[in-house]
């Protein structure tokens, strides 16, 4: 399978859905990928099982503030430079790159690097969604060393970081990114094909494309976007998700608590949904009871257009559909939840799955 212009367009929506409210606006990173594909041709998508066990894969991502990225528009070659830097450190060439984070704008960072470097991209990632920190990924959970990490700025400054501890890599890379002006483009977690098979969330890029296609087709046919989206997930390793509530945003707190309140309407009348977010949506409470938590995807769709919404796009009065979608088995094991379950975000509650815990 190849990723060409129409797949990129669909992925804009699908990656936003996987971002679960966060991961940054995809417009600019989509434009960069589009320009790269126009110039260098479509990108080959390698399935995880197609990878030889001894192949070298170097994942890539943007790190830092999406708002600063939107101002200091990158040239598009930064992530590839980081990948080449890691290759140099290892003395080996990569067979492919892959996203660390398939949710939000980073779905496109690896595709841009792949197009520009003439590399295929592995159809998978280390999060299956968006997360705020570098060690919040299945690569780290299942024992892949993040080191060496290369960070490159738009001006071509590069830093290589080595540490045996992945959380320390996050701290040092974050500080480096701050020093570079708030945004950096990284290559990290170099791994073998065998490790990719053991430690990644497989199929997430093609899933993102399918979700986007489902939403676009629902828009064309004027059919229910939530149904189309849930069907696309149901046919993947994510499984059957559900609509938590349809209603209207009645309150929104962004300063300290960061919480959105939605009052249900029609068949959801007299129900209240509260979603806590930091960058991504993290905890969903229905009438005061926790029904779905991170890493499950908690996604808001704009009621009228069916388009997925970032938390920063929510505002009082808006009509929304809120969905919860389970994430693949590999992201909800005990080890995984210790790294990116609700407790890792400072919530004193256990992981809950809307579907599996059968609350309705």
């Amino acid at each position: 399978m190849y990723v060409d212009l129409s797949e990129l367009e669909a992925l804009r929506l699908g990656a936003t859905v996987l971002g679960s409210g966060g991961g940054g606006d995809t417009y600019l990173s989509y434009l960069l990928a589009r320009e790269a594909v126009k110039k260098h041709g479509p990108v080959r998508l390698l399935q995880v099982h197609e990878l030889p066990d001894d192949a070298l894969v170097i994942p890539t991502a943007m790190m830092g503030s999406p708002m600063i990225m939107n101002e200091r528009v990158p040239s598009g070659k930064e992530a590839l430079t980081s990948l080449r830097t890691v290759e140099k450190q290892l003395g080996r060439q990569a067979l492919a790159t892959m996203p660390i984070e398939a949710g939000g704008l980073n779905a496109f960072t690896a595709l841009t690097a792949a197009a520009r470097g003439g590399l295929p991209v592995v159809d998978g990632d280390g999060m299956g969604r968006a997360f705020p920190e570098l060690q919040m990924c299945t690569f780290h959970v299942y024992g892949v060393a993040g080191s060496p990490v290369a960070v490159t700025s738009e001006q071509g400054h590069s830093v290589v970081i080595e540490s045996a501890e992945n959380p320390m890599l996050e701290r040092l890379a974050r500080a480096t990114v701050a020093g570079m002006g708030g945004v950096g483009y990284i290559a990290a977690y170099p791994m073998s094909g065998k490790q990719v098979k053991e430690a990644s969330v497989a199929g997430t890029l093609s899933l993102g494309i399918r979700i986007g296609q489902a939403l676009l087709s629902a828009e064309r046919k004027r059919s229910h976007p939530a149904g189309a989206l849930l069907d696309a997930f149901a046919q993947s390793t994510y499984g059957q998700g559900m609509v938590l509530l349809e209603g209207r945003v009645t309150a929104l707190e962004r300063q300290r608590a960061r919480r959105v309140t939605v009052e249900g309407h029609e068949s959801y009348a007299r129900q209240t949904l509260e979603v806590e977010f930091r960058y991504e949506n993290l905890i969903a409470r229905l009438d005061g009871r926790v029904v779905s938590t991170v890493p499950e995807l908690i996604v808001f769709l704009h009621y009228e257009t069916g388009m997925p919404l970032l938390t920063e796009e929510l505002r009082p009065g808006m009509r929304v559909i809120c969905l919860s979608v389970p994430t693949p088995e590999i992201t909800v094991t005990e080890e995984a939840l210790a790294v990116f379950g609700p407790k890792a975000f400072g919530y004193d509650c256990e992981f809950r799955s809307a579907r599996k815990d059968g609350w309705r």
Binding site: G24, L31, M67, I68, N70, R72, V73, P74, G317
Partner: protein, 522 residues
């Protein structure tokens, strides 16, 4: 100090004028079809409103004008200036050049070349690189050779540090002369390079239309002996001085909708309501929340171009009194076309041959038209079932729009304004009540007349808790200064809102602060 003011709205169909006194009583109001030369429509409606009010032209102190001329020029790709784009920020951004993702026909109508040169700043205001003046000079010679008529300059992080944009503007003035139109992005848009640059480019291409409109208005006022200070309405419903408006025409693009919502609020005396403005060519459905306009969130496309400035959050429908009705089997259809200012020539009731929504409303006795040239007898024998079906369609589309804009689950009062709003029924779903205020057909001009002047600052700041107050004090002072520069009387300026948004995925204390200040026109 007589305190009389003249409010005008130059729309696609009609030019409206109202004369108000210092206590905001409406003394005179008139409507005249917008004319292709703009000025005649202004003269005719202004003279009528003045004579009704028995206020002498010389007694008018302020003239406030709202117009859709700029938006129309962009939509129709007409009268646009050829723009040269300068972007400062290399090595950033080389792969996404200026005019990226623009509709091809708009680009063809206004692009005059572009250059990306070295320079720009970090988010905390430190320079990222020196401004590459040599490259800039070469680009300017090239623009000169190509004959560009206007230049837009956009620099990375100019909302934080303006020096490179200002320096580049000096070089443009030196090369092209002191009166050559230059748009600096930091004066127009906020964070987001591509979107801010697009806003600046749209502004730069509108300078010719803005000059025409402002020039026409000035001549008209002068000829009638009106020596008032003159303001244009902008997107947030506030007014800016004529000289500001000719510099920042893109900021007037949403003023039509803003004026009708504010005007409806004033005429109804309501601070919270849904406003439905049915004009000749289009219908706006918007909301007033606690007396304020609700603004759009995130990226907004204008004439197909992605921008990030805020415009009133309204649903606009391609639907108005001049919309053409067609019969489609047994059903009515409302075409995308409107006869616009030719209503009084083309519509059936005026002896024309086009079946418009106005004809349908007249035939059913829903609309009263004072124009002697309009004769309802011409509609005798018209298919009234078709008329009813057409109006039912209008109602349905308006009700759908109400669902999109209303806040919360409570039903609010709908205020109906605009010349063709009487064709809507007594009951609409999604609202508690339908209210038709007096003078409703002049809501836009009233909205312009009552406008105050605003100033806004939207910037990134890096501060810890200890520097917070000091920073906010600086930002507030800047917003007040902006308002005064836009034409507010210094003693009357108040700060309306302060919005602080911490930057996501960043470890430092970078906060986006937005402050808006309002004052009375001086």
């Amino acid at each position: 100090m007589s305190g009389y003011r003249l409010g005008m709205d130059v729309g696609g169909t009609n030019t409206d004028a109202v004369v108000m006194d210092r206590d905001m009583n409406i003394l005179g109001a008139a409507k005249y079809p917008t004319t292709p030369d703009i000025a005649t429509g202004i003269f005719e409606s202004m003279d009528r409103a003045l004579s009704q009010s028995s206020v002498a032209p010389g007694e008018i102190e302020r003239v406030m004008v709202g117009t859709t001329q700029c938006l129309d020029a962009l939509e129709q790709r007409k009268r646009l200036a050829r723009v040269g784009a300068i972007r400062i920020g290399l090595p950033c951004s080389a792969e996404v050049p200026p005019f990226i993702d623009w509709p091809e026909d708009l680009k063809a109508a206004c692009e005059g070349g572009w250059a990306v040169v070295g320079g720009g700043f970090e988010y905390d205001g430190r320079p990222m690189a020196d401004l590459d003046e040599a490259a800039l000079g070469r680009a300017l010679s090239e623009f000169k050779r190509k004959g560009v008529e206007s230049i837009a300059i956009t620099c990375v992080f100019s909302p934080v540090a303006t020096a490179h944009e200002r320096r580049a503007a000096e070089m443009v003035k030196r090369a092209f002369g002191p009166d050559f139109p230059v748009t600096l992005s930091h004066e127009i848009g906020s964070m987001g390079l591509i979107e801010r640059e697009n806003s600046a480019l749209l502004n730069a291409t509108l300078v010719k239309v803005a000059d025409l409109a402002a020039g026409g208005l000035k001549r008209a006022l002068l000829e009638r002996g009106i020596v008032a200070s003159c303001y244009f309405a902008q997107n947030d419903g506030s007014a800016m001085s004529l000289s500001c408006a000719t510099k920042y025409p893109v900021l007037t693009i949403g003023s039509g909708a803003a004026n009708s919502i504010k005007g409806a609020g004033f005429l109804s005396g309501l601070r919270d309501c849904i406003v439905i403005d049915v004009g000749g060519t289009s219908t706006y459905v918007g909301v007033l929340v606690k007396g304020c306009l609700r603004e759009s969130v995130g990226a907004t496309r204008i004439a197909g171009v992605r921008t990030n400035f805020r415009i009133p959050d309204v649903v606009s429908l391609n639907l108005g009194g001049g919309s053409v009705v067609a019969k489609d089997g047994g059903r009515a259809r409302i075409l995308e076309d409107s006869v616009g200012y030719e209503l009084t020539r083309s519509a059936l009731a005026w002896g024309g041959d086009t079946f418009t929504l106005t004809d349908a409303a007249l035939a059913l006795g829903k609309l009263g038209v004072k124009d002697p040239a309009c004769d309802r007898r011409r509609l005798d024998g018209i298919d009234t079932t078709l008329c009813r079906k057409a109006l039912a369609l209008v109602q349905k589309r308006v009700e759908d729009a109400i669902e999109l804009v209303r806040e919360g689950n409570q039903h609010a009062v709908a205020v109906l304004v605009g010349g063709a709003s009487d064709m809507l029924p007594e009951y609409l779903s999604g609202v508690s009540e339908v209210y038709r205020p007096p003078h409703r057909e002049y809501a836009n001009a009233v909205g312009a007349a009552i406008a105050r002047v605003s100033g806004q600052v939207d910037r990134l700041w890096v501060y810890g808790e200890s520097e917070r107050e000091e920073t906010l004090r600086i930002v507030v002072a800047k917003a007040v200064e902006q308002a005064i520069r836009a034409g507010a009387a210094p003693g009357t300026v108040n700060v309306a809102e302060i919005e602080e948004t911490p930057l996501s995925y960043l470890s430092e204390d970078a906060v986006r602060v937005k402050v808006k200040a309002w004052g009375e026109p001086s």
